[in-house]
Symmetry: C3
Subunit: 643 residues, 3 copies
């Protein structure tokens, strides 16, 4: 499949008289895909049951006749105001008990059956009308599930659905669930929290002190399942009427629902990539780092998500929204450095993206995103991003097709582990996502290409190294498969430390088959109290005391075991800094014959079967082995072919 670029377009925002010209300019710039429709419910159905699709017919036809392929979004992220009159209780409720009202977007509760039925209705109308339309190249369900913290709702609809979900999770005779099974699983004897009936269970908010972690974890799992169910209503309807592939546009660092589980109902996983907006949220980055990469973004953040969503899409991955210039929603909203709009696109293609679609065509002069740049300015003249996008379009015309091979290294990413860490951080600032990301960053700064694996994977053939950090619950068959695999395996810290109900298992963790290592104790530390390792670097923040007869491969300066190993299994008892992580990973890779090279500064590399990509995220020249990489640049070698 040929790589392509796209754009997001809102015909309903503009006079129909300029649609044709817009379409022509898109095509001239080399754009192939246009996403439309995902916020237009009030124009599709201005009054309940009164549909108006004529304008959409024209828009699709206009785009299609210009040679553009249309991605049609379902508008369910923005129910019109009249929807609330039909379903006054459809709003989500925040953890403080306040209704989350109308006036922006995503004002709905995933557990509200009435609203879900309305979504089914409008999706049915769309799918019937456009399912066979030749210009429709793909579908998008809803928009950015989880944006604005919308996964968890503390409404009575959520509470009732949670009770029902619990009945199924702790089944008893009949359909009523076994409340004693729940009490046992959650350990409710503690603090007399025992329930006599599922209807006594409330949502785990507004408790006097923190709720039972098993209660919280199950609520997070339930909330995730509600997103899956909500999405599935739409995918099932669309498939009845259309053979076009279905995507959803995920986000960066949203972990409140299981993206793999939603992805199982999709054909393509896409995501919305805004590199600059995440820098200020990177809790422990220095001010200097934030200044240096303010106009480029973190050198690994996008790559991580590309690899993650390639796994979510089981190989098929798009960037549905790509930042084209300064945006409106981050704490600070700088211009991208020249070259970055191109670089970001190529980074996506290097990781297997089929389409990179810029958000948005023309900057809106009104409403919440009026300060969000587009490829055009509000006066229709060209914004700087357009030239870079057009250059990418020209470049991919001569480039190989989408090309992804298996990487030598894999990291397992588990949303359920994120739920567990969020439920029980055990120390200020401890976060599963950033733990995994630190391993990813260390590998990438060692010049590795990486695969991210969903936690249900049981086939590790072809990998030299599999890394499983922080996966608090590791099912027994996963442990067994890893132990039996040909790969070198690095587990920990905080992996395999809970059973499926968030209880500490006995025998104590990690209890990996064939590896005699026990986590005797756990401590959490201030970030400024790192523990030096004998070999250099540190562990810190989350530190485990290890016991057992396995080989000690890393020690603290005081001689305490930090990394222990037997056969192919390694357990790491602490959160390493980059120096330690790189040494440990380099040693493991080296032992398997995988070559690593420490890359300077903002330089990164990515291999596909056909190409080697060099990305320089630094705003200055970088030299490696005598080769010079210009600031904010992409360099593509076709070396694999040459070999």
């Amino acid at each position: 499949m040929k790589r392509a670029i796209g754009v997001c377009y809102y015909p309903e925002h503009w006079d129909p008289e300029i649609w044709t010209e817009d379409a022509r300019r898109m095509a001239d710039a080399g754009i192939e895909f246009v996403r439309i429709g995902e916020f237009a419910w009030s124009r599709m159905e201005p009054e309940p049951g009164s549909y108006q699709f004529e304008w959409l017919d024209v828009a699709i036809r206009t785009l299609g006749e210009a040679g553009l392929k249309v991605v049609l979004g379902t508008p369910t992220a923005t129910p019109p105001r009249w929807m609330l009159q039909r379903h006054p209780d459809m709003l989500a409720v925040d953890a403080q008990g306040r209704k989350r009202g109308f006036g922006s977007r995503r004002h709905y509760d995933f557990s509200h059956e009435g609203y879900k039925a309305e979504c089914g209705r409008i999706v049915t109308e769309l799918a019937k009308r456009y399912g066979a339309n030749p210009h429709i190249a793909a579908w998008q369900t809803d928009n950015e599930y989880g944006c604005h913290d919308t996964v968890l709702s503390w409404s009575s609809a959520a509470r009732d659905a949670f009770r029902q979900w619990l009945r199924l999770r702790y089944p008893g005779a009949g359909n009523d669930g076994d409340i004693n099974a729940l009490n046992e699983a959650w350990g409710n004897v503690f603090w007399s929290m025992e329930y006599r009936d599922f209807d006594e269970i409330d949502l785990p908010n507004l408790t006097v002190t923190e709720p039972n972690p098993s209660h919280s974890l199950d609520f997070r799992r339930f909330s995730s399942d509600q997103v899956v169910a909500f999405n599935r209503v739409q995918t099932e309807i669309i498939r009845q009427y259309s053979s076009a592939p279905i995507a959803h546009n995920y986000m960066g660092k949203v972990t409140e629902f299981d993206h793999f589980a939603v992805g199982a109902d999709l054909d393509i996983a896409s995501w919305d990539s805004y590199p600059l907006g995440f820098l200020e949220d990177r809790i422990e980055a220095s001010d200097d780092y934030k200044r240096r990469f303010a106009r480029q973004g973190d050198a690994d953040f996008q790559a991580f998500h590309h690899d993650l969503y390639r796994a979510v899409g089981r190989g098929r991955m798009w960037v549905m929204e790509q930042q084209p210039g300064p945006v409106n929603w981050a704490p600070y909203n700088p211009f991208p450095a020249p070259g970055m709009v191109r670089l970001w696109a190529w980074e996506a293609f290097a990781h297997g993206a089929e389409v990179v679609s810029y958000f948005r065509w023309r900057q809106a002069p009104m409403a919440q995103e009026q300060m969000h740049a587009g490829l055009l300015r509000p006066d229709s003249s060209e914004a700087p991003g357009l030239a870079e996008a057009a250059r990418v379009a020209r470049e991919i015309a001569d480039a190989p097709n989408v090309s992804v091979g298996q990487a030598p290294v894999a990291i397992v990413f588990d949303y359920d582990a994120d739920f567990a860490w969020t439920t029980q951080p055990q120390g200020r600032g401890l976060d599963y996502f950033w733990l995994v990301f630190d391993f990813y960053k260390a590998l990438r700064s060692l010049s590795q290409s990486i695969d991210i694996l969903m936690p249900s994977v049981r086939d590790f053939s072809g990998y030299e190294l599999v890394v499983v950090p922080g996966m608090m619950h590791m099912p027994a068959d996963l442990k067994a498969t890893l132990a039996e695999s040909d790969a070198s395996v690095l587990v920990g810290p905080r992996s395999a430390c809970r059973d499926a109900s968030m209880r500490i298992p006995v025998p104590l963790p990690p209890a990996l088959p064939g590896l005699d290592v026990t986590v005797a104790r756990v401590e959490t530390l201030r970030a400024d109290m790192p523990v030096p390792l004998a070999g250099g670097g540190t562990i810190g923040r989350y530190v485990e005391a290890l016991e057992g007869s396995a080989d000690v491969m890393e020690k603290t300066e005081k001689g305490e075991a930090v990394l222990m190993a037997a056969t192919n299994l390694h357990y790491l008892g602490g959160w390493p800094d980059q120096q330690a992580a790189r040494r440990i990973l380099a040693n493991l890779l080296s032992a398997r014959g995988v070559k690593t090279e420490l890359l300077p500064g903002g330089l990164r590399v990515r291999d596909t079967p056909d190409e080697r990509f060099w990305f320089n995220y630094a705003d200055e020249e970088v030299e490696l082995n005598g080769r010079v990489f210009p600031p904010c640049s992409v360099t593509i070698d076709n070396e694999r072919r040459r070999r």
Copy 2:
């Protein structure tokens, strides 16, 4: 008119037996005005409809017979507890949906018609009884509108009034408003936010993510108008019964309502000046600065407000409450440095104050302000502030009358712009007030006297320089008048960038007649990422990319245009630091023949037609051109007369 000092007094707090002695001591200290009554509703009307004014009669007579002039406040900022029984829904509601209850003050909703009628009733009683009283020299309506964040209320009373206000703002046939006009003005097609009826519109709080900025801005404008209407009820009644002038006591840095619009119904604008309490709130001041000026306050903050309220009062300005010692409400409450109680008063007189009235006569031993110093201690002995106040009284006896001339420089201050910036800061810490204040500070540190202009001014004759920073919406006739004026005009950053409905206009901003400059893009930056200018100093935080054929007068070190000009118009595309602001302003003034001199440290100067005032805010000697200014001192030259 002779300058005078005053004091705030609460006869209801003290045994009537000491009133006579208090009055004598006031007169002995040189005090001429006494403000009373503004919190005494529960004593004026202990039970609904049962008035008790005899005590007030005696108090006014006692003060008057001691030669004091009385300023009588309406007590509407403190409705008695019984008022809530009559109007249970009169309380304002905060943005989180919580009622703001009884137990302090300002517990009312500006939109509650029932309470407004009660205010009319008590004001009528007061105006009838005291309107012709010879001791009543002035009136004060209510007290400190906006104090404790009370302008915005999220109640059902506010919601209903907002809907009605919107009907009038977006008028249709009949009285019903044109909902489509509103949808178009707000751009509600974005995210399907379109309304079918005004009654569907809620207040812009508790939305899932930020509400439409047009929605928020209109709510802020509505809320401001409600204050104006509330105040007007009182001024209209008072004028029926009294010819004494009417004042309101505004506050420092309260921008939630349009002070000019309220001022249009007043005869005098007064404000409550507490220099020490604002230092900790000055977000980006260094700790060193906060320490150095902890006992003096910022050297420009009071001057700015004097100039602002002189404009609000169309020339008539008082300080109704002047800090006399340590107060109770700031994060830290230090003693003023010796000399400051005098200095602050003279700064006010230098800017045209007719009266400076100290708050309060005797420190209260009870209730919320028991730690707020008075001129007397709770035991009736003299607090240190009294001697300084009495010195001021002696000094003004020999000084010229109130004297204000037109300054060579003017800054336009626009509350509507503050509403727009607050609605859409676009970057952390960005604030209209501090932007304008930075220009004011730069001018004052260049030895300038400054006029502040309301945004409706269209006559700029007599000014050498008019500065218009951050005025997001500039009406076309203002642009035209400025372009045609004789003054040099400095516009920007972020001026003229929105239409009246908060939409980005096309052609793009600033679209000043005769000045070919376009803001191509906007970025916001961390405060520690300033952009160096070729001429020294920096711009930062809010930075615009300028295009066009106008002359480039300031560039970044990289050569990007920062200040562009044609004819008398200049557009500045960024928030300058003090160094850059001073150079730019000094150049503009120099070009018009206005002399500037950079003043050292805490030294400031202010010219009136009759006097030149030197104020040294530093707690150490300062030398300028061989002349020495003692710490915390006032020096007055009658040099204008000498010329």
Copy 3:
């Protein structure tokens, strides 16, 4: 009485089959006391009125037969879920108006009469059944009153009870109270806050700005009294059926209720000592300090509480819960340094503890405290704390009995003063507890043993020095008794500055008999603006200007009086740093012939009639006068005997 160690145990968490083995291992480790039962209501009464005590009978018998003495807790901190069905309004309400729901613990309102009656009922059942049980050595009422900010509730139950409490505090004819007396006491004429009836009085939350401090203070006193009344229901019942002593387990730095008043109904005051968890909350400690003592805790925090609770228990003091390893609830949860589990126990014994009871026996694998270490790991193997606890058990077998003498120095600690400071801090970060603690720390670093006195003490015989910092209301008879005592007395800062109703008294504070000192003014300052004293060190944050004819013993560098004295009375007008506090205290002690020695680093000393204890909290060797103290060590001299 022999010293002893104990442990907290939850038989309901474990299979009864292991109870016997657990009991044997406890006894083998030298444990003598076992606390049980305090969270087991759902097992004692699984359905309303259906009691199941058989398991508890067995548990007590099993423990008793192993030679262990049982402390039986009442389970009222954890009402079962069904309780809420009987009393839907029993939940407390937070200051924001939100119900504090089921799902953890302490989910009840102290003012709810229905719940209090239920507590009486279950306590009656327990007392009847176990009151004469020979294995029951003591009782514990409820658990950790005030934990999770549960003293103050803003419910309608609290509001109604508060009104009734006020009627009794401001009594009138009959039972109705005198509302005018309340209005006068609170100064409600200020801001027209006058009430016509007690039923008009709401709780002091959600007011527009801060409520009247007299209102807030009375609400805090009421809330404290509600805890006393709640506890008394239980003690009165238990005493009917049992002669075993009654304890409650207080906490570290919980000051929301008067521990002395609750203690008056107890036989033993115990507390729960978790040294590591408080370091991050010590607001003004440096990061370096927090790092250095992260594994030991503050060297004075536990000692302070031991001395405080010895006063609360009128001589009888226990540590009911002693940290045995890392816990789960602090911002960071490190391992204790080796030796600290022993050191902490000995520090308690040195201050008169009869029993030090470790929390808990075996780490729970489930629920909220699954990350809280026990003496055993979840797999029943020994955690590191067990060996240290067993060593303590062996050591006390050879040590003297509990032994407490009168110290030469006393500090008065007054919960009511804490209520007043909390109500009116007057400056950011000002806190009564830390003020008192700073004096305590200075004394202890001067090698002193200290008694803490309740504010009702009027017999000061035997003390060389009595320190009364920050006691905002000092009753006249306390002032008189101190003036007449033989002790040297140090009062201030901020002592005696309010009357019983939170009004500033006239004559002005402190008005100590025979000491002509007046606090003329008060200021509060940034922490980085200390005022240097002529003799070294500083005062800061809360600074008073002193007047009067008494001798000036300490001055600022500028010559302002800071410490003034006459006869035995000294008044200190500011918050001293450690250097100033040590000098002032050393001078006062030296004048009375008490020897002081400045201790290095983390070294501390404590004298009993029989022993001198040396504690080194530093994680490194410390030398004093040629004697070397190992890191984290206890050294015991029997020097008193030797003398």
